[in-house]
């Protein structure tokens, strides 16, 4: 039987008796092993997972994956880092506990860029995470394993986290849906921190409705996370009606307009053409899309602001990783040597580089110039977005410059223009804590590409509705990568 279905469909099959939860779990585990062999998508596979109770709850009895930076009680949680390679927590993240109430069954912990600090899937301690559409390409990161496994049809959903675009970019590269709700809608308690003011929990699914169902189950105010807020009056799944007529969207000229890229590669051209074609689909539904111009200095600052703030918070957040209380104990004659040894051996060079940047911008003599100014510019960008959100319902943008890049970089089509802004603009969503969702909107070079919709804080329903309406105009809902042989899905 083919289990590449939406959550609603699977629930119906479960309640009809067409399939049992145990069968779904075993099928999921079988596929997970196959996908892991090919894509290195998992840190841990929970082979002793058993089917669960099926109730009226749409999620009950379904298998799913958890990104390895979520603390899971009794289950190895490494954040894909050698610094925590044997760490088994004694408590679970609030989001995981919330999901557990829905009788879902975790079948694995997914590999990721080490502690979420990367967008390539090439810094996990278990090896490069590959794109199930083309194993020579990146899955994107940092929620690489979650994206790859959902895209390969292992299960209907997996948890992700997003500090810059870590859910929304791999979703695009893997041709699936990636949604991070408004900051604080889902508690971060138990999520290994990267940059606390930018970190979001969220999910990767194959449809907008599934994303709504999953986040409905993950969200909720948590006394353990003071930045969480009461969203009990928000019902994402129940609010999806696809009614978008009269909505006003905008995209940012300085990032999207072809004129910015006179030397664009054919892939980039195709990607941007495809973006505009997708906008037409929305216009058919009575949605207007404006091209809006924003001060180029502000746009150009996005990436450096992100680097400054995320690296600074990361150096501090990861100061607890000393190998003293948890993680492999370092060697040395005294505690400082032991900590140094643990950190030198444990972290990948990318993380160390970011720690150096973070420490540098926080130093007394540099702090005002870099860190504090970055905070100011973050505020300016967020203010500008909020000003636009007064006039517009949402921002709609293409994700990155096209399909996933090659792992070794050798075969990538090179665009000579600076495309940083196109690659990094999703960070705006983290600056403001805005609800933001990526959905697949077609193919470039036979590989999936994505489009992103971002709205104002607490307006998740609106953002999801626009994505839902757009998804229904395209044939990519619930698509999977042709990684496994046909019989693996039967």
């Amino acid at each position: 039987m083919n289990y590449i279905k939406t959550i609603e469909e699977l629930h119906e099959m479960l309640t009809n008796g067409e399939v049992t939860s145990e069968e779904l779990v075993q099928d999921s585990l079988k596929k997970a092993h196959l996908v892991n062999d090919k894509c290195h998508a998992f840190v841990t596979l929970l082979d002793d997972a058993k089917g669960g109770f099926v109730t009226d709850d749409l999620l009950s009895g379904l298998p799913y994956g958890i990104k390895d930076n979520y603390s899971t009680k009794g289950i190895l949680s490494t954040g894909s880092s050698n610094t925590l390679k044997d760490y088994v927590p004694f408590f679970s993240a609030t989001a995981v506990l919330n999901l557990e109430k829905h009788n879902v069954i975790p079948i694995g912990k997914t590999a990721m860029d080490e502690f979420g600090m990367g967008g390539t899937g090439t810094t996990a301690h278990t090896g490069n995470i590959l794109n199930p559409w083309d194993l020579k390409r990146m899955a994107g990161g940092s929620s690489s394993g979650s994206a790859a496994s959902v895209a390969a049809g292992v299960y209907p959903f997996a948890l992700g986290s997003d500090t810059g675009d870590s859910i929304r970019k791999p979703a695009a590269f893997c041709g699936i849906v990636g949604y991070k709700p408004t900051y604080g809608m889902i508690s971060r308690y138990g999520l290994f921190p990267f940059a606390s003011s930018l970190d979001h929990c969220g999910c990767l699914t194959r449809s907008v409705k599934d994303a709504a169902i999953v986040v409905d189950a993950m969200k909720g105010q948590d006394k353990n996370d003071l930045t969480s807020w009461d969203s009990s009056s928000i019902h994402l799944y129940d609010s999806l009606d696809g009614k978008v007529k009269g909505k006003k969207l905008f995209y940012i000229k300085e990032i999207v307009n072809m004129e910015n890229y006179p030397d664009a590669s054919s892939e980039l051209k195709e990607h941007l053409d495809n973006f505009h074609k997708t906008l037409k689909l929305l216009e058919e539904e009575g949605v207007s899309v404006d091209e809006v111009s924003i001060d180029r200095d502000l746009i150009n600052a996005i990436f450096s602001v992100y680097q400054c703030l995320s690296c600074a918070e990361a150096t501090s957040n990861m100061s607890n990783l000393t190998g003293i209380i948890f993680g492999p104990r370092g060697e040395g004659k005294n505690i400082n040597e032991m900590m140094k040894d643990h950190r030198t051996k444990g972290f990948s060079s990318l993380i160390k580089r970011r720690f150096v940047i973070g420490s540098y911008v926080l130093q007394k003599e540099n702090q005002e110039k870099y860190f504090v100014n970055a905070q100011r510019v973050r505020r300016l960008i967020v203010d500008k977005m909020n000003e636009l959100f007064q006039k517009y319902d949402a921002l709609i943008m293409p994700v990155s410059t096209g399909p996933a890049p090659y792992i070794d970089g050798s075969k990538d089509e090179i665009t000579k223009d600076n495309t940083t802004n196109l690659e990094e603009h999703l960070q705006i969503g983290n600056f403001g804590g805005f609800p933001s969702i990526t959905i697949p909107n077609g193919f470039v070079s036979n590989l999936p590409v994505g489009i992103n919709i971002t709205g104002k804080c607490y307006d998740d329903v609106n953002v999801l509705n626009i994505a839902y309406a757009l998804e229904s105009k395209m044939p990519y809902k619930n698509q999977i990568a042709p990684l496994l042989k046909e019989e693996d899905y039967e």
Binding site: S77, L191, D225, L226, T227, T315, S316, N320, I325, K364
Partner: protein, 474 residues
Amino acid sequence: MNKYKAVIGLEMHCEMKSNSKVFSSAENSYNDTPNANIRPIDMAFPGTLPTVNLECIRKALLMSLVLNCKQPEYMYFDRKNYYYPDLPKGYQITQMHDPVGVCGHITIEVDGEEKEVLIHDIHLEEDSASLDHYSTISLIDYNRAGVPLLELVTEPCFSSSKEAVMFLEYMRRCYQYCDVSEADTKKGQIRCDVNVSIMDEDATELGTKVEIKNINSFANVAAAIEYEIKRQSELKDAGRYDEVEQETRRFDEESGTTIRMRGKVDAIDYKYFVEPNIPKFKIDPAWLQEIKKTIPVLPRERKIKYIKDLGLTEYDANIIIKEKEYADYFEECVALGMNPKTVANYLTVQIIAYLNKEGITLKEFYLTPNLLKQIIEELEKGTISSKQAKEIFNKALLEKKEPKTYLEGTTQLSDEKVLEDIIIKILNNSQSQIEEYKNGKTNLFQYFVGQVMKETKGKANPNMVRDILTDKLK
């Protein structure tokens, strides 16, 4: 006498009293069992987040008000980043940008003179874990990690170790009065950093400041200051003042000296930034007003009142304000109508001696003000002698029975007619003594008093006996 002027500033860290820790839900209580009062965040397990104990914020604001500080509009916290084995997160949550109080002042008394102490700031932060070092290993106890700590920083406004210690003593009392802390140095609840510099009497520019960190008793604060003034003065005398370096030292209790830890160039850059996991929140002025109303009358004001309005000696007043529970007990007694001087006398002598002997607090003391009143009232009426009062006091405490149960049978003989009859009878049988008395042997008066006491088995009201005798022996 030193020919240089010393300039001293203090940092006073005080562990606060609260049910739970300041950024953790673990219990905040002294625990002999290491690592018993801990939650995952106290050991900085990955993914843990701070919570905020509002009661600690309330108490911090209260102390800010006591110190006449300016309170910030918004409450938020900062991270102070450094690596140390007692700091599991690798940073301490504290307040750097906008402390709970700045620019304050408080008046203390030094040798009967008023002194205004200027407060730079007071801020709320978390304590670190405690370390026990052994020859080959060190042990970490996380019970203390996250315990609420108030750090009070004065301006360099003291000129002697005495002033500094008087201030610390006074502040300790204020913390106790406001129920903010037990402020017990024996439990390590107060730790001080001291900075000391010296300058010529007539100089206008401050000398080189030396900081002595982490001193755990007021006696050591005094010793460290004294030693540092001496050390710096000697160097200056010898023309080697340039050897006094801006540095951090520690106090070595055994040798009574200070020892260099690190110089200015090794100063740690703490890379402070705003704690992102605790959202900024506005301090409601109405809340601040409410807090203000809960400030108790502070020891200095009480002392003034006791001396001026209640007629106590400064000596007694000083003893009574030493502990809030003494002062509260005293005031309760006075409110019940007892004579302040009599109560003060009882409190400063018998009661405190009893508490010390039994090792109990006034809260555990059997004779509440209402029960004490049963004794004091009779004593003042003259129905019992002070000797009898003491006996009842002791018996009541021993047997834990109300004093009035002992009053019957011990009541003084104060009936004038009866006393007069007894006295006439005794005088009639003492003709020769009367003769001698009248011839100038006046100390025989005590003999007559003794006879009356003997006859009445000690129950005669001594004042009345004295009056009647004086009259009859004219």
